[in-house]
C-alpha cells in the first residue's frame, strides 16, 4: 500500500477563496455574492480584488439565491456564498424553483459544513445539506477533500454551464494530500488506495480519515480500498460497482447525517445493481453541539477509529454471507 502523505495544512475554504481570485482574473463574468459572512467564507479576497463584481445582499440568503438566478439569466456566472446551513436549507425553495428547475448556472458555495465546524454548535452545523441538494434534479453536488481539490472543484465548476453546482467545504485547516498530479474530474471518483478486502468510500474531510483508517487496517493485515467520492451527484456508479464486486463490503464515511447522504446514495445504487454489505460512518440522526471539531468527530462517531470499527463490522458480515454472486 502506498502511503499518502499530508504536505501541511490549509482550509478547504481557502481553496475556494484562492480559486475565486483566479477566476475573477480569468473571466470578467464571474461575480460573487456575499450574505454578511464574507470574511468567514473568505470571499473578502475577491471583494477586495474586484469590488465591482462583489455583491453584498445582507443577511438574506433567499434573496441571494434569487439575485444569483437573475445574474445568471443575463450572462453572469454567480458564486453565491455563505455557511452550509444557510446555503442549502434556508433558501431551499428558492434554489429549487429559481435555480434548479430554471437550470440557472449558479454556483452555490457552502462553507463551514458538517459537525466539525465545532464551537458554534448545532444551529451552525450543516448536517443535512447533501440530502437537500442531492434530491434536487439538475443539481451537481461536490464535496472536495482538501485545499487543492476545493480550489480545482471551484474552478472546474465553470465547465457546468447549465444548471447549478453545490460545493461543500469546511472551516478548519486540514491536511493537504492531493497535488496537481492527482486526477480531478467532476463526476469521476478517485481511487486513492487500492485494496481487496473492503472499500471505504468517503467525501470531504472524511477522505483523510479514511486514509488513516486504511493504514490502521493495513497494520491488521486488512487491505482496504479508499475512494474519494468528491462528486456525490452525479455519482460515479462504475467505481462503486467495481468496488462492490471486487471487495464485497463497503464502508461509507461522511460528515453528514446518516440519512440521505453519501452512504445513502451508495446504498440506493447498490440495491438496484449488486446488494452489498455496507456500514455507514455518519452522524446518527441527531443534532450536534459545541466543542472542538476533533472532539465532536469522536463523540459523534465519524473519526478514523469509527471507520476502522465499521470496516471490521462489515468484514464480519461479509464473511457471514456464503457463496454470493453478483446479480
Amino acid at each position: 500500500m502506498v502511503s499518502i502523505q499530508s504536505k501541511g495544512e490549509k482550509a478547504t475554504r481557502q481553496g475556494f477563496s484562492d480559486a475565486l481570485v483566479e477566476l475573477g482574473e480569468e473571466n470578467p463574468n464571474v461575480v460573487v455574492l456575499g450574505a454578511d459572512v464574507s470574511g468567514s467564507v473568505k470571499v473578502d479576497a475577491f471583494a477586495k480584488a474586484y469590488p465591482d463584481r462583489f455583491i453584498s445582499v445582507g443577511v438574506a440568503e433567499a434573496d441571494m439565491m434569487g439575485v444569483s438566478a437573475g445574474l445568471a439569466l443575463v450572462g453572469k456566472i454567480p458564486f453565491a456564498s455563505t455557511y452550509g446551513e444557510f446555503a442549502a436549507g434556508r433558501p431551499f425553495d428558492q434554489i429549487r424553483q429559481s435555480i434548479a428547475y430554471s437550470e440557472m448556472p449558479v454556483k452555490i458555495c457552502a462553507s463551514h459544513c458538517g459537525i466539525t465546524v465545532g464551537p458554534d454548535g448545532a444551529t451552525h452545523q450543516s448536517l443535512e445539506d447533501v440530502a437537500l441538494m442531492r434530491v434536487l434534479p439538475h443539481m451537481t453536488v461536490i464535496s472536495p477533500c482538501d485545499y487543492l481539490e476545493t480550489k480545482r472543484a471551484v474552478k472546474e465548476s465553470l465547465s457546468i454551464t447549465k444548471g447549478p453546482v453545490y460545493i461543500r467545504f469546511f472551516r478548519d485547516n486540514t491536511p493537504m494530500f492531493t497535488d496537481e498530479a492527482t486526477p480531478f474530474q467532476i463526476g469521476k471518483a478517485n481511487t486513492l488506495i487500492d485494496g481487496t478486502d473492503i472499500t471505504i468510500i468517503a467525501a470531504g474531510l472524511q477522505v483523510w480519515e479514511a486514509i488513516q483508517a486504511a493504514e490502521m487496517l493495513q497494520a491488521k493485515k486488512i487491505s482496504a480500498r479508499v475512494i474519494n467520492m468528491h462528486t456525490i451527484k452525479p455519482l460515479d456508479r462504475e467505481v462503486i460497482l467495481k468496488a462492490a464486486k471486487e471487495t464485497g463490503a463497503i464502508v461509507t464515511a461522511e460528515d453528514h447525517q446518516i440519512h440521505c447522504g453519501l452512504g445513502s446514495a451508495v446504498s440506493e445504487y447498490l440495491a438496484q445493481t449488486l446488494p452489498t454489505v455496507q456500514e455507514f460512518v455518519a452522524v446518527r440522526d441527531t443534532f450536534g453541539e459545541s466543542g472542538k471539531g476533533v472532539e465532536l468527530m469522536k463523540k459523534y462517531g465519524i473519526a478514523r477509529d469509527d471507520i476502522v470499527k465499521a470496516a471490521k463490522r462489515a468484514l464480519k458480515r461479509k464473511k457471514g454471507r456464503r457463496g454470493e454472486k453478483a446479480s
Partner: protein
C-alpha cells in the same frame, strides 16, 4: 427588430386588445377546466399596455439582447401572460387551448425555456415571492455591463406577505436600481379572503417608501392612467419605482368582479358563456370558436 415599435397600439386599440385578452382568458380556461380566472382578468389592461406599448421585445427572437426583461413573480397569473404572449406573436394562437395539459408549453405555472418553456418566459415562477430577487439580480447584471435594458417585475398583493419580497426590495434600494420597475397588482384579494383580512398590508405605499422606493399609485384598469404612471416611473432616477396599481379581480365579468372566490377557479361552461356575452367580440378575433358559437339561433333560421 424592436417588437414594440411595430406593435405599438393606439389607446383605443389597447382597450380593444385588453377585451380580447379577457375573452381569450375565458375561452382558455373553459378548455383547460383548471386555472386562475380572477387575477388574470383584472390584469388584462396592464398586460395589453405592457406588450403593446411599453416593453421592447422581438417575438421572432425572444432572447434578443436589447429586450426589456419582464418577470411575472406571481406565477399563478400565467393565463393573462400566456394569452398576451400569443397575441404579441411569441407562439401560435391555437396553442392557447393546451393550457395545463400534458406535454404543453403552457404549464400551470410558467416553466423555464429548456423543457416546456414558452418563448418570452425568462424563468420559472409559481412559488410566490421569488421574482423581485431575480429582477434585482438581472438589473444589477445589466448595469455591470452598462446595458440600458429596463427590468419589470409584477407581484400580486397577497404575494407581498412573503418575506423574500422585502429582502429583494431592500437590495433594489440599496443599489439604487432605477432601471427596475415593479408593479403590484393591488386587487385587495388573495385566496382565503380579502388581503386586509388574511394579512393586513396597509399602509402599503408607506411600506414601499420606507424600503427606499419611489411609489406611484394608479388605476390599473385605466390604460391611459397606467401608461402615464409607467412613463413617470421610467423617468424617475436614483431609486427603483413601484406602481401600486389598483385593479379589480375578475374585471370585465360582472359576477366575478372584486370577489376573491374567483382567485383560482375556471368558469364552468355556463359561466363562461355568460362571461363571453359580457365581453363583446373584438376586431382581433377569438383564437377558437366553440361549437355553440357556430350554431345559428333557431329564430333566425
Amino acid at each position: 427588430m424592436r417588437g414594440t415599435d411595430h406593435q405599438k397600439l393606439s389607446i383605443a386599440d389597447l382597450k380593444e386588445m385588453a377585451r380580447q385578452i379577457r375573452r381569450d382568458i375565458i375561452k382558455m380556461l373553459m378548455i383547460s377546466k383548471s386555472g386562475h380566472s380572477g387575477g388574470p382578468l383584472g390584469l388584462a389592461d396592464i398586460f395589453a399596455s405592457l406588450y403593446f406599448n411599453i416593453l421592447k421585445y422581438d417575438p421572432q427572437n425572444p432572447t434578443w439582447p436589447g429586450r426589456d426583461y419582464f418577470f411575472l413573480s406571481a406565477g399563478h397569473l400565467a393565463p393573462v401572460w400566456y394569452v398576451t404572449l400569443a397575441r404579441a406573436g411569441f407562439y401560435p394562437l391555437s396553442e392557447m387551448s393546451t393550457l395545463r395539459k400534458i406535454n404543453t408549453r403552457l404549464q400551470g405555472h410558467p416553466a423555464p425555456g429548456y423543457t416546456h418553456g414558452l418563448p418570452g418566459v425568462e424563468i420559472a415562477s409559481g412559488a410566490l415571492g421569488q421574482g423581485m430577487s431575480i429582477a434585482v439580480g438581472a438589473t444589477i447584471g445589466l448595469r455591470m455591463d452598462q446595458k440600458p435594458n429596463h427590468v419589470y417585475v409584477l407581484h400580486g398583493d397577497g404575494e407581498l406577505d412573503e418575506g423574500q419580497v422585502w429582502e429583494g426590495l431592500m437590495t433594489a434600494s440599496h443599489y439604487n436600481l432605477d432601471n427596475l420597475t415593479a408593479i403590484v397588482d393591488r386587487n385587495f384579494c388573495q385566496i382565503d379572503e380579502r388581503t386586509e383580512k388574511v394579512m393586513k398590508l396597509e399602509p402599503l405605499a408607506d411600506k414601499w417608501r420606507s424600503f427606499g422606493w419611489n411609489v406611484i399609485e394608479c388605476d390599473g384598469n385605466r390604460i391611459e392612467e397606467f401608461l402615464g404612471a409607467m412613463q413617470e416611473a421610467r423617468n424617475f432616477k436614483g431609486k427603483p419605482s413601484v406602481l401600486i396599481a389598483r385593479t379589480f379581480m375578475g374585471k370585465g365579468v360582472s359576477f366575478m368582479e372584486d370577489d376573491y372566490r374567483w382567485h383560482g377557479v375556471p368558469p364552468s361552461e355556463e359561466q363562461g358563456k355568460q362571461a363571453l356575452s359580457e365581453l363583446e367580440p373584438t376586431k382581433f378575433g377569438d383564437f377558437v370558436m366553440f361549437e355553440w358559437e357556430k350554431e345559428v339561433p333557431e329564430v333566425v333560421k
